[in-house]
Symmetry: D3
């Protein structure tokens, strides 16, 4: 009771934070932990490079230190998992990264994971990270939808591009489960799953679920 | 509402089933899915070989077919994940295996997973399975406590052996997170985590958490 | 003398069993072991899913127990290697699986193995298995001919499809040796090898050869 | 009829060649291929280094060219598989290497292969080769018996050392099948298998078996 | 001419910077590039955690931007390669990391790399990084000398501990080349190589050599 | 001073040797080691097969023995790295292979290496070698330009083909750094880098750089 999971959006886009919170509604139960979503105001408008990812680590650490007295678990809601290991050094609370949680959750729903990314230049960053996690062998492919920020505002167009890329991952790369490589696409999950006929993982949901599992496991001594 | 997760213990030991159910208390929330634990009465007293594991697949398929009209997700609660892929062919409901869920959950809490097993002859079976999952590179080691059924009744002795084996996995194999390779050890989790000072995953809890994540994710269309 | 290898066709199609036996003629020598082929009458008409594969394990175990007094080695002649590890627990006689033997034999004839499969849905099952065997890195590709049962009766059409798929594995995937992922294609081996100009392995022949090697090795004490 | 397998001992030690031939007695059947063993007279007394291995390639190529008109398949009987890929370029006949055949055969008898070597300095050479073959993940360990040439003459002492090393590979490295990493130890196979209670592969037998499989497979057009 | 390599020590310990510069004397040639070593004054006294590593990325980026007008290549002289990929996004000049350069250089001198580290808690950080680089399979082991800062001042004791750890990596882990996992040990390289009788790589030297190779390669159009 | 690196061209084409020497001009500094390029006169006109590669090992060993009294380090300038490990047994001087050095150097400039080869039949040979080196996971692709010797004389056409193949490796295989898999293409490096906009490694330059790094490192005791 009183337990709280804090989901931090490391970019400063509050609309993205609000979208996340909405996507997490199904995880909120009477008697379960509170699930709060907050924005890292020092963050850039979007995390689109390794530099962006590295430069939010300091602010994230400060935020985690500040919030930990009244937080049971943290979720870093950016698919680059910025600062994940630094934050784990900084707090003894569980810290989940949405890329790590998204991919490992996907491994329970399929055996060849397709990654639907936004920008082409994130692919090599993802690859380094999947290698570091030791799961690269289970990644069927990672393809970008390659849309500009302006285009991303058009949800229908986003859906169409994600469907196309997902279909290619399924048909040409053999993916039997998809992970959306972004915290801002939650609203597309259900439609995409319907369209592609394979499970689609929203990584923010996966990470919050992972945090809830850890808290629930510990609730029994 | 009315959603139900069915956790099936594929061995016929009802005491094990009852222990699981108790361990899952923290996952039951007002408004969340019901979590029922049931025993596969056709199962052997324990699943201790590949033969045991293979021979429960038929009965498991029948049970899943029978239960699926009033079940939203299934968990197969034996660390051999018997019939996991057959069951996924049999039902469209999500089916979680506790080995798969336990190891993938552990990857969110550490990066070198130690497996605390019961019998030495399960090690090669586990290895085949970890390889098939594509996560073998993240397994630090898999060591048995090598206790007879009679000895397993003595919870203190079990704790002592699990602590010894866990300490060896941590100190000699570099494991920074443990998975208990059995559905029947839930009551040891907290004590072991305290003793070893690294996270310890009860795979049944992990699999139920995984099922809850999938259901909660889908609850938002 | 008196030594006998029993090749078990786990599906109930006796025509397939007869075809195998014919393909093994070159392995029968005066003074060598008898090579008998038998049908698992409890088996399904074809093994086309994980369920099919898992459900024959019980009958296979019974058959092996019954036959072992007068059998020196067993071959399970289905590319899913159903029950292979259970059978190895059940009998002390060598038990060969045709997928395992086919792929490992192919590694002596080339270094990038192309798998010519029948149905698309067998590909993920094969992948799990190649991973479990630890040889996934040597698999160049696995492509299905995607023919219906009716079409499979037309040997010419089968040959044409296998040639097309084999050529694609060779030219696009870099395969320099092929394995036919089915026990029922023995009669296509020579023609395919001629057409593709790379070695083609019939896995049933490979497994019988492997069994003969083990028996011949043991004949000298 | 008239088919002949030529087993070439690339070192000049005719006693080793004679020992091989004896070990292959069980592979000779009425109506089966002739199995001849011959010595590469230009070879060094033993192949104990990469230099030894590389320098026999020229003479091996010449021997294979000379013998191919009356030879159906070749076996290179040295665990370094000297010149294997050069010989495969040189002749269209199948050429088997005993390391490749020994390890791939072992994968049909166990899943973690222990390698019992002679000299410590061969371990890195083996590792390069297992990696190149793509089977390194299935090698449990590779340990030398570290005996001098003089000591190797004492068969009892060799047996004792091989048993010790094999037991260590089994108990400390988890090996469940052994390969003797030398063409000269055939006479130890049966005793070692008895002592260790896991299958032991004589790689020369494995390679001859592999050659016989290929020839028998082709005998049916 | 005029070309300059800037080696940045990301910790603020100027004595370490001076030691590096001395170690690089052999790389300075008439007509070759200038090799300057500089200290990141914003850095911590030592980089001993992921947090330390992440928090220097911002200052490193600023320093690189400032220095790039008169710098041809950069070397980041800390074995965590802090900010390596961010810096590569920041400047078009080549940026070398000493871990990456040290390990890849070692692969030219041996095939199983032993890593001699300072602190135990750096091992998991290194493992993530070796995995991300895709070279984890070539790492024989990574062992810490586990000395306190006070003890590190005693060069003799450091040498003794590094020799012990190196001998263990060589004898128990099969390492045939060593990398010193720190920029501050250059003065130990020659003695250690002599003591261990295997090549020992100072990663700062390796990275400067790598930078010189790139510059020299480009000097010819 | 007086130190000398000997670059051996294992094929007998002196024009290739001269081209190398020219490409190495940027590595020659006042006070740095002499860099001599010499031709193995016993070598074939080109090394285009495993046989070619194996048969130069003997002559290379003799040349290295002869030259070592006045040579500090050797470079074998053929992308098959013929005899590399034999030469390392033969001399205590460092011996660099251009494939090993080229690929490991490339790993400092990108993370997915594209290999631009000449002949299709070299691809499987390269694959065996990359596997043996343990870096196969970092190879994005290996594609041949497939030109005849006559065509290779036309530098413009070579450039055009290399550009096409490089662009395909970059765009379809995700390569972000290229290695030219031949010692004879040095003059193409700069143009290709310009055309492809990713770093291009001339492996002979990389290997000479590696040798210089080792010598410079040792110059400081």
């Amino acid at each position: 009771m009183g337990e709280r999971i804090l989901v931090i959006n490391p970019n400063s886009n509050e609309k993205v934070t609000a979208g996340m919170s909405e996507a997490l509604e199904g995880f909120r139960h009477e008697g379960g932990p509170a699930i709060d979503c907050d924005t890292l105001h020092e963050g850039p408008p979007g995390i689109e490079s390794q530099v962006h990812s590295d430069l939010v680590v300091g602010p994230l650490c400060r935020m985690v230190i500040e919030e930990q007295p009244h937080t049971a678990a943290f979720v870093i809601a950016c698919f680059s998992d910025p600062g994940l290991h630094s934050l784990r050094e900084t707090t003894e609370r569980p810290v989940m990264g949405i890329a790590e949680a998204g991919v490992t959750t996907a491994l329970n729903l399929g055996q060849q994971v397709g990654i639907i990314s936004i920008l082409p230049n994130s692919i090599p960053r993802h690859r380094r990270y999947f290698r570091a996690m030791g799961v690269e062998g289970a990644i069927a492919g990672d393809l970008p939808i390659s849309m500009t920020v302006a285009e991303l505002a058009d949800e229908k167009k986003v859906f169409q591009r994600m469907s196309e890329v997902g279909a290619r991952l399924r048909d040409e790369y053999g993916a039997d489960v998809m992970v959306m490589a972004c915290a801002g696409f939650s609203s597309q999950r259900a439609g995409l799953e319907e369209a592609l006929q394979v499970p689609v993982v929203d990584p923010t949901q996966a990470a919050v679920g992972m945090a809830m599992t850890v808290l629930a496991s510990r609730s029994r001594t």
